[in-house]
């Protein structure tokens, strides 16, 4: 790692001020950023740890029926505390990485990084979540803008993510066994006004909504509704773990499995 200064603000205002500094970078749980720093893929002058901000931690059910998760809430806490409100989200969180990673990694870090194979972006997009920052609310549909690219401005901090709780939902991940990232992961959520299907791990453009499946499942919520559909391999990721065609096929298969799992 290149040298950097480390600061751990106690308030959101202090964190915002620290992130306004030259070459400052926010640090969540560090489970992606610290390995990236070790590889010298990033060279911030200052790391601003967000884990000391109590208002960014925790899970709560809001009056409007949404589930609010603080940006610095670890995967382990979401797995435990969201289970009663939004079981599919809790199950997703409880299967990210491994236990030690889940004890450090945070939802805000994952969503800010927007790794094309991360699990949380699928939950946020598949739930039509709202990404709340220190300055504004961003709809998930506007937030995810491609691989490692989001609507966040420099220095903007994710304080909370608000998930509308669906009638039924499930996330099915085809796991890349060495990294435990999603080779492909599909999040399906059924709401009163329609079904959302979000796919991670598959596209060169990062997490995306499979709108064709959403339309089919909105009129008939069963695995059979997607069996006749097909996914173009054009924009799919191809690497040593799977070809674009393989990933395109997995999108359909896993969507069907997620519908069955949602019940």
């Amino acid at each position: 790692m290149y040298a950097f200064d480390f600061v751990r603000p106690a308030t959101l205002d202090e964190a915002v001020a620290a992130l306004g500094g030259e070459e400052a970078q926010a640090l969540g749980g560090g489970q992606t950023l610290i390995p990236a720093l070790k590889q010298r893929l990033a060279a911030p002058a200052t790391l601003v740890s967000l884990t000391g901000l109590p208002e960014l931690r925790g899970v709560c059910a809001a009056d409007d029926g949404t589930l609010c998760v603080g940006g610095a809430t670890t995967h382990a806490v979401v797995a435990a505390e969201a289970a009663a409100h939004y079981p599919a989200l809790a199950a997703l969180a409880g299967n990210i990485g491994d236990p030690a990673v889940r004890n450090r990694g945070t939802i805000g870090g994952s969503v800010a990084n927007n790794d094309p194979s991360a699990c949380y972006p699928a939950a946020a997009l598949g739930s039509g979540a709202t990404i709340r920052t220190n300055t504004r609310d961003i709809a998930a549909d506007d937030y995810f803008q491609g691989m490692f690219t989001t609507a966040l401005e420099p220095g903007e901090i994710i304080t909370e993510i608000r998930f509308p709780v669906p009638e039924k939902a499930a996330y099915v991940k085809f796991e890349q066994p060495a990294s435990r990232f999603a080779l492909v992961g599909v999040f399906v959520a059924k709401y009163a006004d329609g079904v959302r299907v979000a796919v991670t791990g598959a596209s060169e453009e990062g997490v995306f909504r499979w709108t064709e499946a959403e339309a089919a499942l909105s009129s008939d919520f069963g695995a059979g509704a997607v069996s006749g559909l097909s996914v173009e391999a054009d924009m799919m990721i191809g690497d040593l773990h799977g070809s674009p065609e393989y990933r395109a096929h997995l999108v359909k298969v896993l969507t069907g499995r997620a519908v069955i799992a949602a019940g």
């Binding site: 489970q31 390995p35 236990p99 004890n103 450090r104």
Partner: protein
């Protein structure tokens, strides 16, 4: 350099570290606690797992300064006060849960965290919880068996052959 203070295995310790100093480096190089092993240094292998405020974390992927004021426990803090092996450590010995021993500190710390939250885990739960700990010698069977035995459960059905046949 910045001063960092924490409690390690019940003792208050402090030292001067850089922003980039990892917890694993502080423990090994700063405190001489070399029982915490660094296998991969890329967050894959779990040999460096320690407890921070009771939670198992990878010390190679945690900055020392993130642990300011924290309670840290390493493998050196696992034995009983009289120096005898803890139940988990003894079970690893009794059930041959190690061969070269490099991964063992991380395995024991992870097993300890698992049993703290799930005192009688099933075999499947143990295997799921060990996903972040890599062992290149044992094939895991005897590690799983040792953890199950440490939890006080009967392991007579967990012969190596029985598991291999699953």
């Amino acid at each position: 350099m910045t001063k960092v203070t924490m409690t390690v295995n019940g003792k208050a310790v402090s030292g001067e570290v850089e922003g980039r100093t990892l917890l694993s480096q502080f423990l090994r190089d700063g405190l001489g606690l070399t029982g915490t092993h660094v296998g991969c240094d890329t967050s894959q292998c779990g040999a460096c797992v320690v407890h921070v405020n009771g939670q198992d974390v990878k010390s190679c992927t945690t900055l020392a300064l993130e642990c300011e004021g924290a309670e840290v426990r390493t493998i050196e803090g696992m034995a009983n006060p009289d120096g005898s092996l803890s139940v988990i450590q003894q079970a690893f010995q009794d059930h041959h849960g190690l061969q070269c021993g490099f991964c063992t500190p991380g395995m024991v710390m992870t097993a300890s965290a698992l049993l703290a939250q799930n005192p009688t885990p099933s075999e499947a739960e143990i295997r799921h919880y060990l996903e972040g700990n890599i062992c290149r010698c044992t094939g895991y069977h005897n590690i799983v068996k040792a953890i199950m035995a440490a939890s006080g459960q009967d392991v007579s059905h967990l012969g190596s052959d029985a598991i291999a046949a699953e």
